[in-house]
Amino acid sequence: MSFLDHLIIMPILLPLGAAALTLLFDETRREVKAGINFAATILLIAIAIALLVQTDAVTREGTELTITYRLGNWPAPFGIVLVADRLSAIMVLLTGILGINALIYSMARWQAAGPHFHMLFQMLLMGLNGAFLTGDLFNLFVFFEVMLAASYGLLLHGSGVLRVRAGLHYIAINLAASSLFLIGVSLIYGVTGTLNMADLALRIPHVPANDLGLLHAGAAILGIAFLVKAGMWPLNFWLPTTYAAASAPVAGLFAIMTKVGVYIVLRLTLLLFGEHAGASFGFGQTFLLIGGLATIAFGTVGVLASQSTGRLAGYSVLVSSGTLLAAIGMGDRAVTGGLLFYLVSSTLTISAFLMLVELVERARVAGADVLAVTMEAYGEDDEDLEHEEEVGVVIPSTMAILGVCFALCGLLLSGVPPFSGFISKFAMLSAVLQSEDAASPIPASTWWLIGLLIISGLASLIAMTRTGIATFWATLEGPTPNVRVIEIAPIAILIVLCLGLTVAGGPVLHFMDLAADALHTPTDYIEDVIGTTPAASAGGAS
């Protein structure tokens, strides 16, 4: 085997190694830790790009659809496999990009706010990459726990009453969700006798009718665990508080954590309950559609009602999650293509916005916004951090640059043309309308989705405009905030990437359509992982 064959496991091993390495250095040698973290994350991006090119190449050659890596070279249903297809590769690359920008941002001041920041940071990347690449349900649980354990530490980074209080809720909810995850996994194992995702997809059509209820119960319980992570209403009351409490770079990285839940739901729904699944075909889609619509509505109301920018960002995360879940619920090939585009675009935007929030809050005059609970936390932290050396140069005309970034974030979030937010929403909406048979009337759920998407965009625009006016036009006499180049640069990079997505909209959308096609044709995925066609294996349930 050449080195390239082992490329797929590198996104897991590299962060693990880097995390271990940072532990060897004392907290006083923070530059070394930051250097290791930076190098590892840059390398991760390089690997992710290589993986993306490689998965694209194998698919184009037509030989295989995915890259399958057998750990310990055990044959697929018995050993653990890692599987990379276009979607996994996109997600790993997205993780790397968010990671490097959050890291650059944290180098200005946040990395000094507590111990072991860089170690936890790399462990979170490892958990995320593992969850995106694994082809095994129980392995997914393990990577989820690695990711969650690191996220607990990162959420508490910087300490303070608000973070500890939010962290207590966040940990309790996630521990309960993990229990549901285990119950779901074991129920599915009890019915089908396998944990390999591809093998599961093979066996589900052959599950006897009287076991189907148990299988569906297992899948539903498992789904709840992911939907808690994805933030579907009514499982999402923890989310705005938690995201508003997290320190800015951590929140920027957390933007992808809700997308992990969405990714798994997308992958499992289409793989296990796709067209070939027989009696189980389309299981859970109506639930996802309704839940997604409810989440958009809840998020929209929240966006309008938010008094602080931090909570506004938290509710924007919910709107984005709701849109994705509802689009998954449509279960249509063309919609999935637009959905993936929206996934990438909205994750980049929200990550930029979550980091921008802290800079904007800094610009506000203290006490101008009585209801801004987060102000207290940031105020306290500013005092603590005053003595720490700050890296980078203070930039001139801060308010103008912040204002431009804020306006661009608002345009991207609300999906106003000509930016990528608009293209992704347009791709989904046009697909929704075209997918229906021209003769038959468009179902009510489709109109609901269209209406809610447009209203949520309008609500984001109103809320962003209101906050923008209150911050950038009303506080001219206030002190100019102290913003450094390396704090504004990552936000600028993320926004430029979104603009790049707009310019390269055609090719990117084409790529996403190919990825969506692969997701909707799970037989190829199964074939690659197991090495047998679904027809040849009629083993049935054990």
């Binding site: 726990e145 508490l156 303070g160 209080r165 207590l168 309790a172 996994v185 074991s186 129920l187 944990l195």
Partner: protein
């Protein structure tokens, strides 16, 4: 045997859920522990209950019917380790919260 196991899991899960919904952090952590015990027993039972059979294969006797399913046992082992670590971590946050807010209420203030 099935009945005893089912009642055991039910009692553990029921008490766990009750405690999880209580307002004191200590009750929450005990509740989470009880739920994780219930879940571990549940995973175990999903490999079918089989008495007096080893999970380790012996090359001399090749019939799978002679053995109990080893996979759930491996899963339980992993789940126990992870659950234990998470409980320990939660305990630290609980103490930090007690120190910061001066109360053991989950919301950090008495209602």
């Amino acid at each position: 045997m099935e009945l005893i196991l089912a009642i055991g899991i039910g009692v553990l899960a029921g008490s766990g859920v009750f405690l999880l919904l209580r307002p004191r952090t200590f009750q929450v952590i005990v509740g989470l522990s009880l739920i994780s015990y219930a879940v571990n027993l549940f995973i175990f039972s999903m490999g079918r209950i089989r008495l007096n059979a080893a999970p380790v294969l012996n090359p001399a006797a090749n019939d799978p019917a002679l053995y109990t399913d080893p996979v759930p046992q491996a899963l339980v082992l992993t789940a126990i380790v992870i659950g234990f670590a998470m409980t320990a971590l939660f305990l630290v946050v609980l103490l930090a919260s007690r120190g910061f807010t001066g109360t053991d209420h989950v919301d950090g203030r008495e209602r």
